[in-house]
């Protein structure tokens, strides 16, 4: 608990900024929803035939999962405030339209008739009788919409629109409970606070309520204004994944080693590429073999000072399996050095952008390298179980290994793809649930071994030294053998659009830092 307060204290300015952004997002969208929703509710209370279709459409929008809605809006509106506000606006719309409609239609017909009977015009009936009487119901709708929006606004952090979601999602990505709570608790308090405040307003007597509603209407643009507070702008805009932003070998490492200083926007890692492609950001974090580097013509900045630990891929095999099937080790090592960065990027590109199946990609690759062999028929009583993590590169590697082993040996390969994260794969390997899987040296070092800080400081972050270190440690501690590296290094990297890189003359992270300082 004291950790949590320490975290909040250390990040108070960031927390305040996120909270204000969060409030701003909530109320800008609420204001838009009020401006559109209330007139629409009034309209359908007049033209009842429209009611079911309008409420139907708003209802359908409400059921679209928020992440999906954001995903759908990004191609149309890009990243940042646009899609976040539109999504929030759409979610707030239904409760406001519906409650306006219900509030007005539920005013007793006798009262409405009396209002017309004493000589009120249609507009007077609306403003003097129907709306005041519907006000508590409309307010209940506003209350619902506000609470929904406080919740959904956390997702704004996916699309670089800020808010308390930044701490929540970074916290989840980094398994940092304090960070997560520093976002989640204020978000919950905001929801409870607004709900309570609006409930108080809703329970006021008719006259005070009208005053309260007026005060609220005046207050909303003020609260919205939080969002418009100007922020500092960098020469180049960075969009980083939450995990990269928080991990010590990510952005903090860059700050330490290169003195890089940016005000990055945090964004979901899958949307990052789309954002740089659409020129909404100029620098993104990513992985050096991602197929999108090729698809979007991006340049990976060289990391001369080795701020990013190497992530050389190699199969990790149980010692007992190697002993039992002596042919397995040499077969796996047939691939050593064959998969360079550019080859792997290309394979990923084929899967993600050309939508080729992993089978076909694997076969093509093996044929090209002269490693493909049609599996011999006959019984295969001996089985090796291979695991893989859940992303494209690992699916492709799994398929390459399967075809290679079944072509070159009489072993049967059973694949268990879809083992969530590193921890799951590693545990499966150690307990013998699988016999081998492709792992990355940096992950082995920082996630599995987690050596103490002093020891880590002594270790040079060079591919060879890290490989030697993890190979030796894995064998000693777990009787697991790292085979020869495949040749590519899927490490963290910074990338910018190739075209912009050429214009600005930036090729490395050092260049970037110099350019920003100019």
């Amino acid at each position: 608990m004291s950790d949590f307060f320490a975290f909040v204290r250390d990040h108070a300015d960031k927390l305040l900024e996120q909270t204000l952004t969060h409030i701003g997002l909530t109320f800008v969208s609420l204001l838009l929803a009020l401006l559109i929703g209330v007139p629409l509710g009034i309209l359908i209370s007049r033209k009842r035939k429209l009611a079911s279709s309008v409420l139907g459409v708003a209802g359908v929008l409400q059921t679209v999962p928020s992440v999906a809605l954001l995903g759908f809006l990004i191609p149309l509106l890009g990243i940042g405030v646009g899609p976040a506000l539109v999504a929030l606006f759409l979610y707030a719309l239904l409760p406001i339209i519906r409650n306006t409609y219900v509030g007005i239609t539920e005013v007793s017909p006798l009262t409405k008739e009396a209002a017309r009977g004493v000589g009120m015009t249609d507009n007077q009936v609306l403003t003097k009788v129907e709306l005041p009487l519907a006000l508590p119901v409309i307010f209940a709708g506003v209350r619902t919409a506000t609470v929904i929006n406080v919740g959904v606004a956390t997702l704004a952090a996916y699309v670089a629109a800020g808010g308390l979601g930044e701490f929540i999602f970074s916290g989840i990505a980094l398994s940092n409970v304090n960070m997560m709570l520093a976002g989640a608790i204020p978000a919950a308090l905001l929801a409870i606070g607004f709900d309570f405040g609006l409930a108080r307003l809703q329970n006021l007597s008719a006259k005070k309520m009208r005053v309260g509603a007026l005060a609220f209407v005046i207050l909303v643009p003020f609260l919205s204004a939080f969002y418009l507070l100007p922020g500092r702008q960098d020469k180049l805009i960075a969009g980083f994944a939450h995990e990269f932003y928080g991990r010590s070998d990510g952005y903090p490492g860059l700050q330490k080693i290169y003195g890089l200083s940016l005000r990055p926007r945090l964004i979901d890692q899958n949307l990052m590429y789309e954002a740089i492609h659409k020129k909404q950001v100029d620098i993104i974090s990513g992985y050096s073999t991602d197929g999108r580097i090729k698809a979007f013509d991006l340049l990976v900045l060289t990391d001369n000072r080795h701020a990013f630990p190497p992530y050389d891929a190699a199969p990790v095999v149980r010692q007992v399996t190697l002993d039992r099937y002596p042919e397995l080790g040499p077969t796996l090592n047939l691939l050593a050095g064959k998969l360079t960065d550019s080859v792997m990027t290309d394979l990923n590109y084929r899967a993600d952008y050309l939508h080729q199946s992993p089978e076909r990609i694997a076969t093509d690759f093996l044929k090209k390298g002269g490693l493909y062999q049609v599996p011999k028929s006959g019984d295969r009583p001996q089985t090796v179980v291979m695991g893989s993590k859940v992303f494209t590169e690992q699916y492709i590697l799994a398929e390459i290994y399967r075809q290679l082993i079944e072509g070159k040996t009489q072993l049967r390969v059973v694949t268990k793809t879809g083992l969530g994260g590193t921890q799951i794969c590693f545990d499966a390997l150690r307990t013998g649930a699988i016999d081998f899987y492709p792992e990355y040296t940096g992950t082995g070092l920082l996630v599995v071994l987690q050596p103490p800080a002093e020891e880590l400081k002594k270790l040079p972050m060079q591919p060879d030294s890290v490989y030697t270190f993890v190979k030796q440690q894995f064998l000693e501690k777990y009787q697991l053998v790292w085979q020869k590296p495949l040749g590519f290094n899927n490490s963290y990297c910074l990338m910018i659009r190739r075209e912009q890189a050429r214009q600005l003359g930036i090729r490395s992270i050092e260049n970037l830092v110099q350019y920003l300082k100019k």
Partner: protein, 237 residues
Amino acid sequence: MIEIQDLVKRFGSHTAVDNVSLSIGQGETLVLLGTSGCGKTTTLKMVNRLIEPSSGAIRVNGVDVRQQDGPTLRRRIGYVIQDGGLFPHYTIAEAIATVPKLLNWESTAIQERSRELIDKLQLPETVLLRYPAELSGGQRQRVGLARALAAKPPVVLMDEPFGALDPFTRRHVRRELFGLNELKETTVVLVTHDVSEALELANRIVLMDQGKIVQVGTPTELQKNPANEFVRDFLDI
């Protein structure tokens, strides 16, 4: 004061009011009597254009009601409905001031008139700041009438005004209200299905059935010379 000529109202294929003609004199209290669905309320609402006739004409004070727009017309015709038809969010003072305000009266004139009415209707002055829900049924009915009379309209239309009251209060309230001088000078058209109410209040009764007028006459005439079996039956003689 009110001339109704060949008035017809059709809702789709159903004829709610079928060729009704009537003449109502100044200061007269005319009661439209009949079963539910006989067309009496529809007839009443066509007088202040809450419902538009299919054909026929209505003149109030010699002017065709269709020559003026609905709201303007209605501001000069008092309108009382069941339970007063008060707005739940208006205080009694605001309720009484409704029509004078729509007519842009001076606020001092409005206040003066409100006091006068409260006084005449024997309501305590403290009710002025109360809301309808805080009043008894009888009090609400009086406020409903005060609202209708506030702008001193020459004509007041009443649609089952005492319908929400228990029989005892009903007798009491209506005797009291119709004893007011203010109402005696006003032309009143009242809709009811309550025979005793009609007999007690009406200068003339119009008995309606299936959209048509069955008989028009003073209470005594109807009782003494019922036009047919229906009238006899309805009045229970």
